[in-house]
C-alpha cells in the first residue's frame, strides 16, 4: 500500500513543556485516521510540524516517501487548522483563487468545490460577512481545491452550533466515501468513532494507543447493574472471585471481569440480592478514551 506520511520519533519542546513526545505514525492511502486527545495533548503541534508551520525539536517526518520537499508535498495536501484563515476583504471566490495560485492549480475547480460545501450562491460575498460555520465550510472547499491525496482536519467542528457540526460531518463523510485519505484530529470521540478506521490516542504528547478503532474496542465488555441497595450489591460483588473491578457511576455499578450475565444473576440471587437492572455493554470509544487518558 502507498504510504502518504511517515512520522518517526517526533519531539517538540516549548521551553520546559514537552508538547510532542516520541510520536510515530504511518499513514496509508485510503484509510481514515483519527488523532484523539484532550486539549493540549499535542495534536495540533504534531500536525503543525508536518505542515511546515512549527519547527520540530527532533525526529523525522516525510511526505510521500520523502520524494518531495515539504512545501512541494503540501501542494498535494489539503489541510484546515483550528480556525479558518482567509483574507477578510476578499470574496470567497477571490480567496480560493489565491489558494489556486499558491498551489499552482487552475481556477476551474472553484465552483465545483463551492458546490460541495454549499457556498456557491455566496461566492461573491466577502469572507468577513460569513458565519463561523460558513467560514469553516469555505476552508474545506479550499482544502479540496487540488483534489488532495490527503485531507487533514484539525478540530473541524470546534465552536460550531449543532447544525454546523452536522453539516461539516456530512461533508467529511461524503469526502471519505470518495476514497480520500483523511487525518482527523479531534477531542470529540464520537466524531472520530463515526468516520475513522484507525486511531492514535495522545496524552501530554505521548502515544497511548495506536491501531484500529475496532482493536481499541475489543475485549472490553462490562456489565451495568443496579439494585435497591447499592452498598449491599457492591459488597456482594466484591466477594465474587471473577470480578476484577467495580466502578460506581450515576447510581449504577459497572462490573469488569471474565463474566457472563447469567453468572452474575445466579450469584446475586443466591445472596438474596435482586437486580433491577442488568445490561451487558461494550465500552464506547469515549469511555475507552477517558480510561486511557486518566489511568496513566
Amino acid at each position: 500500500m502507498e504510504t502518504i506520511l511517515t512520522i518517526e520519533n517526533l519531539h517538540k519542546n516549548y521551553g520546559k513543556v514537552h508538547a510532542v513526545n516520541n510520536v510515530s505514525l504511518s499513514i496509508q492511502k485510503g484509510n481514515v485516521y483519527g488523532i484523539l486527545g484532550p486539549n493540549g495533548s499535542g495534536k495540533s503541534t504534531t500536525l503543525g510540524i508536518v505542515l511546515n508551520v512549527v519547527n520540530k525539536t527532533s525526529g523525522k517526518y516525510s511526505w510521500f516517501g520523502g520524494a518531495l520537499e515539504t512545501h512541494e508535498a503540501l501542494k498535494k495536501v489539503g489541510a484546515i487548522i483550528e480556525r479558518p484563515n482567509f483574507y477578510p476583504y476578499m470574496t470567497a471566490q477571490q480567496n480560493l483563487q489565491l489558494v489556486c495560485k499558491i498551489k499552482g492549480t487552475d481556477y476551474s475547480k472553484i465552483n465545483e468545490k463551492l458546490e460541495i460545501v454549499g457556498l456557491l450562491d455566496r461566492k461573491d460575498s466577502k469572507f468577513r460577512t460569513f458565519s463561523l460555520g460558513m467560514k469553516q465550510r469555505l476552508a474545506i472547499a479550499s482544502a479540496l481545491l487540488n483534489d488532495p491525496e490527503i485531507l487533514i482536519l484539525d478540530e473541524p467542528t470546534n465552536g460550531l452550533d449543532p447544525q454546523g457540526i452536522r453539516q461539516i460531518r456530512d461533508i467529511i463523510r461524503t469526502i471519505a466515501s470518495f476514497g480520500t485519505t483523511i487525518l482527523l484530529a479531534s477531542h470529540l470521540l464520537d466524531e472520530v468513532e463515526k468516520v475513522c478506521s484507525h486511531v492514535l490516542v495522545l496524552r501530554k504528547g505521548e502515544i497511548l494507543y495506536s491501531g484500529t478503532v475496532d482493536g481499541m474496542n475489543s475485549g472490553k465488555d462490562f456489565f451495568e447493574v443496579q439494585s435497591e441497595n447499592i452498598i449491599e450489591l457492591r459488597n456482594a460483588l466484591n466477594l465474587m472471585p471473577t470480578v476484577q473491578k467495580i466502578e460506581e457511576y450515576e447510581g449504577k455499578l459497572f462490573v469488569y471481569g471474565e463474566l457472563q450475565a447469567s453468572e452474575i444473576n445466579k450469584y446475586l440471587f443466591e445472596k438474596n440480592i435482586f437486580l433491577t437492572h442488568l445490561v451487558r455493554r461494550k465500552n464506547t470509544l469515549e469511555e475507552q478514551f477517558l480510561e486511557l487518558t486518566s489511568n496513566n
Binding site: 508551520v53 508535498a73 503540501l74 487548522i81 476583504y89 489565491l98 495560485k101 499558491i102
Partner: protein, 279 residues
C-alpha cells in the same frame, strides 16, 4: 517569480485601504509638479518657482527625487500592514500550509517591494522629464541625461526603506506598533548621532561619518537636501555672506553600498525570523 508577484499583488490590490493609499501616493507624487505654479510676490516683483531654476536639468533630478522620497511613508504603511496583516489574519500560517515555502513567502514580499520602488522611480523619471522639458533653460540631451545617478539612489533608497518596513512588520507583527517603532528608531538614531557629535568630541566630520552607517541616516544621506543648492538661494546667500559654501551634493558609491548592505541584512533577518518562529 510571476506567480509570487501575482499572489502578492492580489493581496494588496483587493484590499481597499491599500488601493486607496497607493492611488493617493501617486496622485501626491504628481503634485510635485504643482510647485511649478507657485507664485509669490517679493518687493513688487513676481516670482514663479518654475522660473527660479528648480526645474533646470540636471538639477531637477536631484530636486524631484528628494521631494518624492518624502512621500515614501504612504507606501511604507502599505508594506508594514501587508506583512503584519498576514499575522493577524492567520493567513501566513495558511499560505505555508497551502504549499508556499517560507523562502517563497519572503521573496514574494521583496519582489513587490522592488516593484513598488521601480514603478515609483519610473514615475518620477517621466514626471521630471516632462517638467524639465517644459521649464528648463537647457534641453540639450547631454545635459538632460546627466546626473541620473539620483534616480538610481532614489530606487535604492526606496527599496532599502521598504525592506526595513517589511522587517519591522515581521518582527513586530502589528502594523501600528511597527510604524510606531519606525518613528522611535528614527529618534534613537538622532540621539545616537547627537551623543557621538556632542559628547565624544571627535569632530563633526567623523561624527557624520559614523552616523552614516546607521540605516535611516544612511538612506537619507543618499540624496542630500537640495534646497541649499538651489540657485536663487545661493545667489541670496552669496550676496549676504559673500562666501560660497562648499557642500558635496553628489551621490557616492560608498553610501549606496552601505544602504544595499542594510537591505540585504533586513531581508536575511526577516527570513531568519520567519524560519525560526513557530506559528
Amino acid at each position: 517569480m510571476k506567480r509570487l508577484l501575482s499572489i502578492e499583488l492580489q493581496k494588496i490590490w483587493q484590499n481597499r485601504a491599500s488601493r486607496i493609499l497607493t492611488l493617493t501616493y501617486f496622485i501626491l507624487l504628481s503634485s510635485v509638479a504643482l510647485i511649478a505654479s507657485i507664485n509669490f510676490n517679493f518687493i513688487g516683483i513676481d516670482f514663479r518657482m518654475a522660473d527660479m531654476g528648480i526645474f533646470n536639468f540636471p538639477f531637477i533630478w536631484h530636486f524631484n527625487t528628494y521631494m518624492a522620497s518624502i512621500l515614501k511613508f504612504f507606501l511604507a504603511v502599505i508594506i508594514v500592514s501587508m506583512m503584519a496583516n498576514e499575522y493577524s489574519y492567520g493567513t501566513l500560517k495558511q499560505n505555508l500550509i497551502d504549499g508556499l515555502s517560507k523562502k517563497e513567502f519572503i521573496s514574494s514580499k521583496f519582489i513587490t517591494v522592488i516593484l513598488f520602488a521601480l514603478i515609483s522611480t519610473i514615475y518620477v523619471f517621466v514626471m521630471s522629464l516632462l517638467l524639465g522639458y517644459s521649464f528648463s533653460s537647457y534641453t540639450e540631451a547631454g545635459i538632460v541625461f546627466s546626473d541620473l545617478e539620483y534616480l538610481l539612489a532614489y530606487f535604492i533608497k526606496l527599496t532599502a526603506f521598504f525592506s526595513f518596513c517589511l522587517f519591522l512588520g515581521i518582527l513586530i507583527k502589528r502594523s501600528a506598533f511597527a510604524i510606531g517603532f519606525l518613528i522611535i528608531w528614527f529618534i534613537i538614531e538622532k540621539i545616537i548621532y547627537g551623543t557621538i557629535k556632542y559628547r565624544l568630541e571627535i569632530g563633526d566630520k567623523i561624527a557624520d561619518q559614523i552616523a552614516g552607517f546607521m540605516p535611516l541616516e544612511a538612506m537619507s544621506n543618499l540624496i542630500k537636501e537640495p534646497i541649499t543648492r538651489f540657485q536663487a538661494y545661493k545667489a541670496i546667500e552669496n550676496q549676504i555672506s559673500g562666501g560660497n559654501s562648499v557642500k558635496d551634493y553628489s551621490v557616492h558609491l560608498f553610501e549606496i553600498a552601505i544602504v544595499i548592505v542594510w537591505t540585504v541584512i533586513f531581508m536575511l533577518m526577516s527570513y531568519k525570523i520567519l524560519k525560526k518562529r513557530d506559528l
